[in-house]
Protein backbone atom coordinates (compact mmCIF):
# COMPACT_ATOMS: atom_id res chain seq x y z
CA UNK A 1 0.00 0.00 0.00
CA UNK A 2 1.40 3.29 -1.10
CA UNK A 3 0.32 5.32 1.94
CA UNK A 4 1.66 2.81 4.38
CA UNK A 5 4.96 2.72 2.58
CA UNK A 6 5.14 6.50 2.60
CA UNK A 7 4.37 6.60 6.31
CA UNK A 8 7.02 3.97 7.04
CA UNK A 9 9.48 5.97 4.95
CA UNK A 10 8.66 9.12 6.90
CA UNK A 11 9.17 7.41 10.25
CA UNK A 12 12.36 5.73 9.06
CA UNK A 13 13.84 9.00 7.76
CA UNK A 14 12.85 10.78 10.95
CA UNK A 15 14.49 8.15 13.13
CA UNK A 16 17.67 7.99 11.04
CA UNK A 17 18.06 11.78 11.01
CA UNK A 18 17.32 11.94 14.75
CA UNK A 19 19.92 9.27 15.42
CA UNK A 20 22.56 11.01 13.30
CA UNK A 21 21.83 14.31 15.01
CA UNK A 22 22.05 12.69 18.43
CA UNK A 23 25.45 11.20 17.54
CA UNK A 24 26.78 14.54 16.31
CA UNK A 25 25.51 16.32 19.43
CA UNK A 26 26.95 13.70 21.78
CA UNK A 27 30.36 13.97 20.08
CA UNK A 28 30.13 17.76 20.25
CA UNK A 29 29.27 17.57 23.92
CA UNK A 30 32.29 15.38 24.60
CA UNK A 31 34.74 17.84 23.01
CA UNK A 32 33.05 20.75 24.79
CA UNK A 33 33.33 19.06 28.16
CA UNK A 34 37.06 18.71 27.57
CA UNK A 35 37.30 22.41 26.77
CA UNK A 36 35.59 23.55 29.98
CA UNK A 37 38.82 23.80 32.05
CA UNK A 38 40.33 26.06 29.36
CA UNK A 39 37.40 28.45 29.63
CA UNK A 40 37.60 28.39 33.42
CA UNK A 41 41.33 29.13 33.29
CA UNK A 42 40.67 32.10 31.01
CA UNK A 43 38.12 33.52 33.44
CA UNK A 44 40.52 32.95 36.34
CA UNK A 45 42.99 35.16 34.49
CA UNK A 46 40.59 37.93 33.55
CA UNK A 47 38.44 37.69 36.68
CA UNK A 48 35.68 39.39 34.74
CA UNK A 49 32.09 38.20 34.50
CA UNK A 50 29.74 38.18 31.50
CA UNK A 51 30.22 37.26 27.85
CA UNK A 52 32.15 39.16 25.20
CA UNK A 53 29.22 38.59 22.86
CA UNK A 54 28.21 42.21 22.78
CA UNK A 55 30.89 44.82 23.44
CA UNK A 56 29.03 47.91 22.31
CA UNK A 57 28.37 49.33 25.77
CA UNK A 58 29.57 48.77 29.29
CA UNK A 59 26.12 47.85 30.55
CA UNK A 60 26.07 44.79 28.30
CA UNK A 61 29.74 43.83 28.21
CA UNK A 62 30.15 43.87 31.98
CA UNK A 63 26.52 43.80 32.84
CA UNK A 64 26.93 42.50 36.38
CA UNK A 65 29.57 45.11 37.29
CA UNK A 66 28.11 48.13 35.55
CA UNK A 67 26.94 51.29 37.28
CA UNK A 68 23.58 51.63 38.90
CA UNK A 69 22.83 54.41 36.47
CA UNK A 70 24.60 53.09 33.41
CA UNK A 71 21.48 53.38 31.33
CA UNK A 72 21.72 57.12 31.66
CA UNK A 73 25.40 57.26 30.90
CA UNK A 74 25.08 60.16 28.48
CA UNK A 75 22.35 62.22 30.03
CA UNK A 76 19.52 61.70 32.48
CA UNK A 77 16.73 61.88 29.95
CA UNK A 78 18.38 59.80 27.23
CA UNK A 79 17.00 56.26 27.21
CA UNK A 80 19.04 53.23 26.21
CA UNK A 81 19.53 53.10 22.49
CA UNK A 82 21.60 50.00 21.78
CA UNK A 83 19.61 47.08 20.40
CA UNK A 84 21.13 44.78 22.98
CA UNK A 85 19.34 46.77 25.66
CA UNK A 86 16.17 45.17 24.34
CA UNK A 87 17.65 41.71 24.84
CA UNK A 88 19.50 41.85 28.15
CA UNK A 89 17.85 42.70 31.43
CA UNK A 90 19.72 44.71 34.06
CA UNK A 91 20.97 42.59 36.98
CA UNK A 92 18.32 42.20 39.70
CA UNK A 93 20.34 44.23 42.22
CA UNK A 94 20.27 47.23 39.92
CA UNK A 95 16.51 47.54 40.08
CA UNK A 96 15.51 50.29 42.41
CA UNK A 97 13.37 47.97 44.52
CA UNK A 98 15.86 45.08 44.76
CA UNK A 99 18.68 44.65 47.24
CA UNK A 100 22.02 42.96 47.01
CA UNK A 101 21.72 39.47 48.52
CA UNK A 102 24.33 40.03 51.21
CA UNK A 103 22.44 42.95 52.74
Amino acid sequence: MNKKRLMTAFIAIFLIVALLEAIVLILMNRTQTMQEPIKQAAVTLTGLPDLALSTEARFVRHRTLSDLHAYFSEEGTLPEYFPSAFTYAPPPYQHAHARIAGE
Partner: protein, 391 residues
Protein backbone atom coordinates in the same frame (compact mmCIF):
# COMPACT_ATOMS: atom_id res chain seq x y z
CA UNK B 1 -4.46 1.31 20.56
CA UNK B 2 -6.46 -0.40 17.87
CA UNK B 3 -4.16 -0.66 14.85
CA UNK B 4 -7.10 -0.58 12.43
CA UNK B 5 -8.19 2.74 13.91
CA UNK B 6 -4.62 4.00 13.60
CA UNK B 7 -4.48 3.20 9.89
CA UNK B 8 -7.95 4.59 9.40
CA UNK B 9 -6.71 7.84 10.97
CA UNK B 10 -3.70 7.82 8.66
CA UNK B 11 -6.00 7.35 5.68
CA UNK B 12 -8.14 10.17 6.89
CA UNK B 13 -5.11 12.49 7.20
CA UNK B 14 -3.99 11.40 3.76
CA UNK B 15 -7.35 12.22 2.18
CA UNK B 16 -6.95 15.88 3.16
CA UNK B 17 -3.23 15.72 2.46
CA UNK B 18 -2.67 19.24 1.18
CA UNK B 19 -4.42 20.93 4.08
CA UNK B 20 -2.78 18.76 6.71
CA UNK B 21 0.63 19.27 5.17
CA UNK B 22 0.16 23.04 5.38
CA UNK B 23 -0.87 22.78 9.04
CA UNK B 24 2.11 20.51 9.73
CA UNK B 25 4.52 22.95 8.07
CA UNK B 26 3.25 25.99 9.98
CA UNK B 27 3.10 24.09 13.27
CA UNK B 28 6.66 22.80 12.79
CA UNK B 29 7.93 26.26 11.96
CA UNK B 30 6.34 27.77 15.07
CA UNK B 31 7.84 25.09 17.33
CA UNK B 32 11.25 25.43 15.66
CA UNK B 33 11.33 29.18 16.17
CA UNK B 34 10.19 29.01 19.78
CA UNK B 35 12.57 26.17 20.63
CA UNK B 36 15.52 27.83 18.86
CA UNK B 37 15.29 31.05 20.80
CA UNK B 38 14.86 29.31 24.14
CA UNK B 39 17.64 26.79 23.45
CA UNK B 40 19.98 29.57 22.37
CA UNK B 41 19.25 31.60 25.51
CA UNK B 42 19.72 28.51 27.66
CA UNK B 43 23.00 27.70 25.97
CA UNK B 44 24.42 31.18 26.60
CA UNK B 45 23.33 30.93 30.23
CA UNK B 46 25.08 27.58 30.46
CA UNK B 47 28.28 29.19 29.13
CA UNK B 48 28.07 31.79 31.91
CA UNK B 49 27.43 29.18 34.60
CA UNK B 50 30.42 27.13 33.46
CA UNK B 51 32.83 29.86 34.45
CA UNK B 52 30.97 31.25 37.46
CA UNK B 53 33.14 29.42 39.98
CA UNK B 54 36.32 30.94 38.54
CA UNK B 55 35.15 34.46 39.41
CA UNK B 56 36.31 36.26 42.55
CA UNK B 57 34.19 35.71 45.68
CA UNK B 58 33.58 39.41 46.31
CA UNK B 59 34.14 42.49 44.16
CA UNK B 60 34.26 45.89 45.85
CA UNK B 61 33.58 49.02 43.82
CA UNK B 62 33.45 52.62 44.88
CA UNK B 63 30.48 54.67 43.86
CA UNK B 64 30.47 58.41 43.62
CA UNK B 65 27.49 60.40 42.39
CA UNK B 66 25.93 57.17 41.19
CA UNK B 67 28.89 56.24 39.06
CA UNK B 68 31.72 53.85 39.64
CA UNK B 69 34.99 55.67 40.29
CA UNK B 70 38.57 54.73 41.10
CA UNK B 71 39.12 53.72 44.70
CA UNK B 72 41.99 54.11 47.12
CA UNK B 73 44.45 51.19 46.99
CA UNK B 74 44.91 51.38 50.76
CA UNK B 75 41.41 49.93 51.18
CA UNK B 76 43.08 46.56 50.51
CA UNK B 77 44.77 46.59 53.92
CA UNK B 78 41.57 47.32 55.81
CA UNK B 79 39.68 44.64 53.91
CA UNK B 80 42.42 42.04 54.45
CA UNK B 81 42.18 42.61 58.20
CA UNK B 82 38.51 41.55 58.25
CA UNK B 83 38.28 38.05 59.81
CA UNK B 84 37.49 35.39 57.21
CA UNK B 85 39.26 37.17 54.34
CA UNK B 86 42.26 35.25 53.04
CA UNK B 87 43.25 37.64 50.28
CA UNK B 88 42.25 41.05 48.99
CA UNK B 89 43.78 42.34 45.82
CA UNK B 90 43.43 45.60 43.92
CA UNK B 91 42.68 45.42 40.23
CA UNK B 92 43.46 47.86 37.50
CA UNK B 93 41.28 47.53 34.45
CA UNK B 94 39.21 49.55 32.07
CA UNK B 95 38.35 50.10 28.46
CA UNK B 96 40.50 51.25 25.60
CA UNK B 97 38.76 52.68 22.57
CA UNK B 98 40.58 51.89 19.35
CA UNK B 99 39.42 54.63 17.08
CA UNK B 100 40.57 53.23 13.73
CA UNK B 101 38.31 50.23 14.06
CA UNK B 102 35.69 51.83 16.31
CA UNK B 103 35.88 49.10 18.93
CA UNK B 104 36.28 48.93 22.69
CA UNK B 105 38.87 46.63 24.18
CA UNK B 106 38.88 45.55 27.81
CA UNK B 107 42.33 46.16 29.26
CA UNK B 108 43.08 44.08 32.34
CA UNK B 109 46.14 44.38 34.56
CA UNK B 110 47.44 41.07 35.91
CA UNK B 111 50.24 40.03 38.21
CA UNK B 112 51.72 37.37 35.96
CA UNK B 113 54.00 36.01 38.66
CA UNK B 114 51.34 35.01 41.15
CA UNK B 115 51.39 31.19 41.41
CA UNK B 116 47.66 30.54 40.74
CA UNK B 117 47.93 32.26 37.37
CA UNK B 118 50.83 30.23 36.05
CA UNK B 119 48.72 27.13 35.56
CA UNK B 120 45.85 29.15 34.08
CA UNK B 121 48.21 30.87 31.64
CA UNK B 122 49.49 27.52 30.49
CA UNK B 123 45.94 26.24 29.95
CA UNK B 124 44.26 29.24 28.35
CA UNK B 125 46.97 30.94 26.30
CA UNK B 126 48.52 29.59 23.13
CA UNK B 127 52.36 29.14 23.26
CA UNK B 128 53.20 31.82 25.75
CA UNK B 129 56.52 31.85 27.54
CA UNK B 130 56.83 34.59 30.12
CA UNK B 131 60.63 34.32 30.38
CA UNK B 132 60.98 35.53 26.79
CA UNK B 133 59.18 38.77 27.63
CA UNK B 134 60.68 39.64 31.02
CA UNK B 135 62.32 42.90 29.98
CA UNK B 136 59.75 44.33 27.57
CA UNK B 137 56.18 45.60 27.62
CA UNK B 138 53.93 42.78 26.51
CA UNK B 139 50.29 41.82 26.31
CA UNK B 140 48.11 38.77 25.76
CA UNK B 141 45.08 39.38 23.60
CA UNK B 142 41.83 37.67 22.73
CA UNK B 143 41.15 36.37 19.23
CA UNK B 144 38.92 39.28 18.32
CA UNK B 145 41.50 41.84 19.42
CA UNK B 146 44.17 40.07 17.41
CA UNK B 147 42.00 40.02 14.29
CA UNK B 148 41.21 43.73 14.69
CA UNK B 149 44.87 44.64 15.19
CA UNK B 150 45.94 42.51 12.22
CA UNK B 151 43.34 44.20 10.05
CA UNK B 152 44.99 47.50 11.02
CA UNK B 153 48.50 46.24 10.21
CA UNK B 154 49.61 45.70 13.79
CA UNK B 155 50.93 42.16 13.68
CA UNK B 156 53.44 41.96 16.51
CA UNK B 157 52.94 45.13 18.54
CA UNK B 158 50.40 47.85 19.21
CA UNK B 159 50.74 51.56 19.93
CA UNK B 160 48.41 52.57 22.75
CA UNK B 161 47.60 56.25 22.86
CA UNK B 162 47.04 57.33 26.46
CA UNK B 163 44.60 60.03 27.43
CA UNK B 164 47.43 62.55 27.82
CA UNK B 165 48.51 61.85 24.25
CA UNK B 166 51.70 59.85 24.75
CA UNK B 167 52.28 56.72 22.73
CA UNK B 168 53.01 53.44 24.46
CA UNK B 169 54.35 50.59 22.36
CA UNK B 170 53.39 47.14 23.63
CA UNK B 171 54.48 43.83 22.11
CA UNK B 172 52.07 41.07 21.34
CA UNK B 173 53.19 38.06 23.35
CA UNK B 174 50.35 35.61 23.05
CA UNK B 175 46.75 34.92 22.15
CA UNK B 176 43.98 33.30 24.14
CA UNK B 177 42.84 29.96 22.77
CA UNK B 178 39.96 30.11 20.30
CA UNK B 179 37.55 28.14 22.50
CA UNK B 180 37.59 30.94 25.08
CA UNK B 181 36.45 33.59 22.61
CA UNK B 182 33.07 34.05 24.33
CA UNK B 183 34.98 35.08 27.46
CA UNK B 184 38.13 36.73 26.09
CA UNK B 185 37.35 38.03 22.62
CA UNK B 186 37.83 41.70 23.56
CA UNK B 187 40.32 41.25 26.40
CA UNK B 188 43.87 42.56 26.54
CA UNK B 189 45.88 41.18 29.44
CA UNK B 190 49.05 43.02 30.52
CA UNK B 191 51.19 43.51 33.64
CA UNK B 192 49.58 45.80 36.23
CA UNK B 193 52.26 48.49 36.00
CA UNK B 194 51.81 48.68 32.24
CA UNK B 195 48.01 48.77 32.56
CA UNK B 196 48.42 51.74 34.91
CA UNK B 197 50.48 53.54 32.27
CA UNK B 198 48.11 52.76 29.40
CA UNK B 199 44.97 53.66 31.32
CA UNK B 200 46.73 56.47 33.22
CA UNK B 201 45.71 55.32 36.68
CA UNK B 202 47.91 56.57 39.53
CA UNK B 203 49.82 54.25 41.86
CA UNK B 204 47.56 54.99 44.81
CA UNK B 205 44.33 54.24 42.95
CA UNK B 206 42.69 51.10 41.61
CA UNK B 207 39.57 50.18 39.62
CA UNK B 208 38.18 47.73 42.11
CA UNK B 209 39.18 45.25 44.78
CA UNK B 210 38.59 41.52 44.66
CA UNK B 211 38.35 39.56 47.87
CA UNK B 212 38.86 35.85 48.46
CA UNK B 213 36.86 34.26 51.28
CA UNK B 214 37.63 30.54 51.57
CA UNK B 215 34.51 29.69 53.57
CA UNK B 216 31.40 30.45 51.50
CA UNK B 217 29.24 30.63 54.63
CA UNK B 218 31.20 33.67 55.79
CA UNK B 219 30.72 35.67 52.58
CA UNK B 220 27.52 37.53 53.64
CA UNK B 221 29.17 38.55 56.94
CA UNK B 222 32.28 39.81 55.15
CA UNK B 223 30.10 41.69 52.65
CA UNK B 224 28.25 43.31 55.55
CA UNK B 225 31.48 44.32 57.25
CA UNK B 226 32.97 45.84 54.11
CA UNK B 227 29.79 47.81 53.64
CA UNK B 228 29.95 49.00 57.21
CA UNK B 229 33.53 50.24 56.84
CA UNK B 230 32.99 51.74 53.39
CA UNK B 231 29.37 52.89 53.10
CA UNK B 232 30.01 54.46 49.69
CA UNK B 233 31.03 51.19 48.12
CA UNK B 234 29.13 48.61 46.14
CA UNK B 235 29.94 45.08 47.17
CA UNK B 236 29.00 42.34 44.71
CA UNK B 237 29.27 38.76 45.94
CA UNK B 238 29.42 35.73 43.68
CA UNK B 239 25.84 34.89 44.70
CA UNK B 240 24.71 38.23 43.28
CA UNK B 241 26.39 37.43 39.99
CA UNK B 242 24.73 34.01 40.01
CA UNK B 243 21.30 35.57 40.43
CA UNK B 244 22.16 38.15 37.80
CA UNK B 245 23.10 35.38 35.36
CA UNK B 246 19.78 33.69 36.04
CA UNK B 247 17.91 36.76 34.86
CA UNK B 248 20.19 37.82 32.04
CA UNK B 249 17.61 37.79 29.25
CA UNK B 250 14.71 40.11 29.30
CA UNK B 251 12.06 37.58 28.27
CA UNK B 252 9.26 39.83 29.44
CA UNK B 253 9.89 42.75 27.14
CA UNK B 254 11.82 44.07 24.20
CA UNK B 255 12.82 41.84 21.36
CA UNK B 256 11.65 38.62 23.02
CA UNK B 257 8.17 39.94 23.63
CA UNK B 258 7.91 40.94 19.98
CA UNK B 259 9.05 37.48 18.94
CA UNK B 260 6.80 35.57 21.33
CA UNK B 261 3.78 37.63 20.35
CA UNK B 262 4.38 36.81 16.68
CA UNK B 263 4.82 33.10 17.38
CA UNK B 264 1.79 32.79 19.62
CA UNK B 265 -0.35 34.88 17.32
CA UNK B 266 0.48 32.55 14.44
CA UNK B 267 -0.24 29.55 16.65
CA UNK B 268 -3.56 30.86 17.84
CA UNK B 269 -4.70 31.60 14.29
CA UNK B 270 -3.98 27.95 13.59
CA UNK B 271 -5.89 26.83 16.66
CA UNK B 272 -8.75 29.23 16.03
CA UNK B 273 -9.16 27.95 12.50
CA UNK B 274 -9.43 24.42 13.92
CA UNK B 275 -11.63 25.26 16.87
CA UNK B 276 -14.06 27.46 15.00
CA UNK B 277 -15.79 24.35 13.72
CA UNK B 278 -15.59 21.67 11.11
CA UNK B 279 -16.33 22.25 7.48
CA UNK B 280 -19.27 20.56 5.74
CA UNK B 281 -17.20 17.65 4.41
CA UNK B 282 -15.81 16.82 7.84
CA UNK B 283 -19.26 16.99 9.37
CA UNK B 284 -20.64 14.68 6.72
CA UNK B 285 -17.82 12.22 7.35
CA UNK B 286 -18.66 12.10 11.05
CA UNK B 287 -22.36 11.66 10.18
CA UNK B 288 -21.60 8.74 7.88
CA UNK B 289 -19.36 7.10 10.48
CA UNK B 290 -22.16 7.37 13.00
CA UNK B 291 -24.69 6.04 10.49
CA UNK B 292 -22.58 2.91 9.88
CA UNK B 293 -22.52 2.25 13.60
CA UNK B 294 -19.61 4.18 15.17
CA UNK B 295 -20.12 5.36 18.70
CA UNK B 296 -19.33 8.88 19.89
CA UNK B 297 -16.19 7.72 21.66
CA UNK B 298 -14.99 5.97 18.49
CA UNK B 299 -15.28 9.21 16.55
CA UNK B 300 -13.48 11.13 19.31
CA UNK B 301 -10.78 8.47 19.46
CA UNK B 302 -10.28 8.72 15.70
CA UNK B 303 -9.91 12.49 15.90
CA UNK B 304 -7.57 12.16 18.88
CA UNK B 305 -5.34 9.79 16.91
CA UNK B 306 -5.38 12.05 13.87
CA UNK B 307 -4.52 15.23 15.73
CA UNK B 308 -1.93 13.56 17.97
CA UNK B 309 -0.17 12.13 14.93
CA UNK B 310 -0.01 15.56 13.36
CA UNK B 311 0.93 17.48 16.50
CA UNK B 312 3.55 14.99 17.67
CA UNK B 313 5.23 14.83 14.25
CA UNK B 314 5.30 18.62 14.16
CA UNK B 315 6.78 18.70 17.66
CA UNK B 316 9.39 16.02 16.96
CA UNK B 317 10.51 17.53 13.66
CA UNK B 318 10.40 21.05 15.11
CA UNK B 319 12.65 20.22 18.07
CA UNK B 320 15.05 18.35 15.82
CA UNK B 321 15.27 21.28 13.41
CA UNK B 322 15.83 23.66 16.33
CA UNK B 323 18.65 21.53 17.75
CA UNK B 324 20.25 21.35 14.31
CA UNK B 325 19.89 25.09 13.74
CA UNK B 326 21.20 26.17 17.15
CA UNK B 327 23.97 23.71 17.92
CA UNK B 328 25.19 22.50 14.54
CA UNK B 329 24.65 25.62 12.42
CA UNK B 330 25.45 27.88 15.44
CA UNK B 331 22.19 29.83 15.09
CA UNK B 332 22.92 32.19 12.19
CA UNK B 333 20.81 35.41 12.24
CA UNK B 334 19.25 34.62 15.61
CA UNK B 335 22.61 35.06 17.38
CA UNK B 336 22.62 38.67 16.17
CA UNK B 337 19.80 39.36 18.62
CA UNK B 338 22.32 38.71 21.37
CA UNK B 339 25.33 40.49 19.88
CA UNK B 340 23.56 43.71 18.94
CA UNK B 341 25.56 46.46 17.24
CA UNK B 342 28.85 45.05 18.38
CA UNK B 343 31.61 45.24 15.76
CA UNK B 344 33.88 42.85 17.61
CA UNK B 345 31.82 39.70 17.21
CA UNK B 346 33.31 36.53 18.68
CA UNK B 347 33.33 33.23 16.85
CA UNK B 348 30.61 31.65 18.89
CA UNK B 349 30.78 28.02 19.82
CA UNK B 350 27.59 27.39 21.75
CA UNK B 351 27.80 24.85 24.55
CA UNK B 352 25.32 22.02 24.17
CA UNK B 353 22.64 22.40 26.78
CA UNK B 354 19.12 21.05 26.45
CA UNK B 355 16.91 22.06 29.30
CA UNK B 356 14.13 19.46 29.71
CA UNK B 357 11.90 22.07 31.34
CA UNK B 358 12.09 24.29 28.28
CA UNK B 359 11.23 21.42 25.97
CA UNK B 360 8.39 20.42 28.32
CA UNK B 361 7.10 23.97 28.40
CA UNK B 362 7.02 24.19 24.61
CA UNK B 363 5.24 20.82 24.49
CA UNK B 364 2.58 21.82 26.98
CA UNK B 365 2.04 25.21 25.39
CA UNK B 366 1.40 23.80 21.92
CA UNK B 367 0.51 20.11 21.54
CA UNK B 368 -2.41 19.66 23.98
CA UNK B 369 -3.97 22.94 22.86
CA UNK B 370 -3.91 21.84 19.26
CA UNK B 371 -5.34 18.42 20.10
CA UNK B 372 -8.13 20.00 22.16
CA UNK B 373 -8.92 22.40 19.34
CA UNK B 374 -9.48 19.43 17.03
CA UNK B 375 -11.36 17.14 19.41
CA UNK B 376 -13.88 19.56 20.86
CA UNK B 377 -15.62 20.51 17.56
CA UNK B 378 -15.56 16.87 16.45
CA UNK B 379 -17.18 15.80 19.67
CA UNK B 380 -19.77 18.51 19.22
CA UNK B 381 -20.58 17.19 15.73
CA UNK B 382 -20.56 13.58 16.94
CA UNK B 383 -23.19 14.07 19.64
CA UNK B 384 -25.77 15.31 17.14
CA UNK B 385 -27.95 12.67 15.41
CA UNK B 386 -26.35 11.17 12.31
CA UNK B 387 -29.09 12.18 9.89
CA UNK B 388 -29.05 15.73 11.15
CA UNK B 389 -25.28 16.05 10.67
CA UNK B 390 -25.38 14.63 7.15
CA UNK B 391 -28.26 16.74 6.01
Amino acid sequence: MNSKLFFFALDSLWRRGGKNLAVLAVFTLIITLLASILLLGGSLKKELDLTLDSLPDITVQKLSAGRQTLLDSDMVYTITSIPGVSLARERVWGYYYFQNAGVNFTVMGLDFFLPPYRESLRKAVEDFDITAHMDEDFMIVGEGVKATLNANYYTDFFNFITSSGTIKKVNLAGTFKGVTSLETNDVILMPIALAREVLEIEETLATDIVVTVPNPVEIPTVVGKIREVYPGSRVIAKEDIRSSYQNIFDYKSGIFLALFITVFFAFFILVYEKASGLNAAERREIGILKAVGWRIEDVVRLKLTESSLLALSAFGVGIMLALFYVFILEAPLLIDLFSGYSILKPKVQLPLFIDPYTIGLIFIATVPIYIAAVIIPSWRAAVIDADEVMR
